[in-house]
Amino acid sequence: MFLPAIILLIFAFLSIVVTYLAIVERDMLVAAIFMAFQGVCYAIIYYVLMAPDVTLAYIPISSGLTPILILIVLKKTERVER
């Protein structure tokens, strides 16, 4: 009972830090990497909340496909926000 509660607290803490950094960051390549970190944090929280199906769908989409999609678009457009 202690262990899930502690994991929940630690990754929720990390997710708020990473979300703030992803929004504030001006270099959008770094922001995409922070977004992938947020995906990992949320995936572990999904697992602790006993949703393995959602975890399996969420890991590839949020920490694999969406950052790669944004990296491809950054390569074609501009990288730094003014």
Binding site: L9, I16, V17, V24, P52, L65, I68, L69, I72
Partner: protein, 271 residues
């Protein structure tokens, strides 16, 4: 990223935790999970695999898969239609693109390429196993498709889009593949209904197992493994739909300048 930002972020997180724990201790905000699930969820859990009540069960050990493809099947068919039409919208936006083979390309270094050659077949294997075991263990069509799409995305970023052309993944082929898979989903959803019209019995659209007033069903047992009838078939077809649709989008987005320079030109001359 500066040091100042990190300090602000950490102090923001500590502040939120402090305020919410103070409010909880004071009894102002109490958001607690209940001790019992709702009655609707209880019914889903009870009847998902229930051989003692043959008229309500779907013979799937994974309750989430049973809900997605059996109890709330129309939801999911329409959701697949949303995915399908999003990809059609992207096709319309990027009309007039041409695939050109043999342009110059340059991937990442050999240090990245060699491990990814080993990892990529494993990812495909994981995706297929998630699709095939979707009704028994955690997994299903969407998860399998999303996991398998990581492969082309990795190939595009690590090697080049040229490597996908060498693997014969052309956009026309992918478009055909996902259209066939989507039509297959629709055909399976009305197959029992068509069968009942021919054999003069009763059946419903999107029917899986035996229901009230209807005695025909999909196969629910394969040698010594539960098959869950249409849930298994839907998972396989959904895997192909999601994989082909997402890979199509990745190829269209990562096209080189020479391939997209004729975009919209043909349409404008036609207009």
């Amino acid at each position: 990223m500066k040091k100042k930002d990190i300090v602000i972020a950490v102090s923001l997180a500590i502040m939120v935790i402090a305020i919410s724990s103070a409010l909880y201790a004071g009894g102002i905000i109490i958001i607690t999970p209940p001790y019992k699930v709702r009655d609707l969820a209880k019914n889903f859990l009870r009847y998902s695999y229930n051989p003692w009540n043959g008229k309500l069960t779907s013979y799937a050990l994974n309750v989430v898969s049973a809900i997605i493809w059996d109890y709330r099947g129309l939801d999911t068919v329409l959701e697949t239609a949303v995915l399908y039409s999003a990809v059609i919208g992207i096709t319309v936006l990027f009309r007039g693109i041409v695939e050109i083979r043999g342009l110059k390309h340059r991937g990442l270094s050999l240090l990245v390429k060699m491990p990814s050659r080993i990892v990529i077949p494993l990812i495909i294997a994981v995706g297929i196993s998630l699709a095939v075991h979707g009704h028994l263990t955690p997994g299903g069509g969407f998860q399998a498709g999303a996991v398998a799409t990581v492969t082309p995305a990795l190939i595009i970023t690590i090697f080049s889009i040229e490597a996908l052309y060498v693997l014969k993944l052309r956009i026309q082929k992918l478009f055909l593949m996902r259209t066939i898979a989507f039509i297959g989903i629709l055909m399976i959803s009305i197959s029992l209904f068509l069968y009942s019209l021919m054999s003069l019995t009763n059946a419903y659209v999107l029917q899986n197992m035996i229901r009230e007033h209807s005695n025909i069903s999909m196969p629910h047992w394969f040698i010594d493994v539960p098959l869950a009838g249409s849930v298994f078939l839907y998972n396989i077809l959904e895997f192909f739909t999601v994989f082909a649709g997402l890979t199509y989008v990745f190829i269209v987005y990562s096209m080189r300048r020479k391939e997209v320079e004729n975009m919209w030109e043909e349409v404008e001359t036609y207009e």
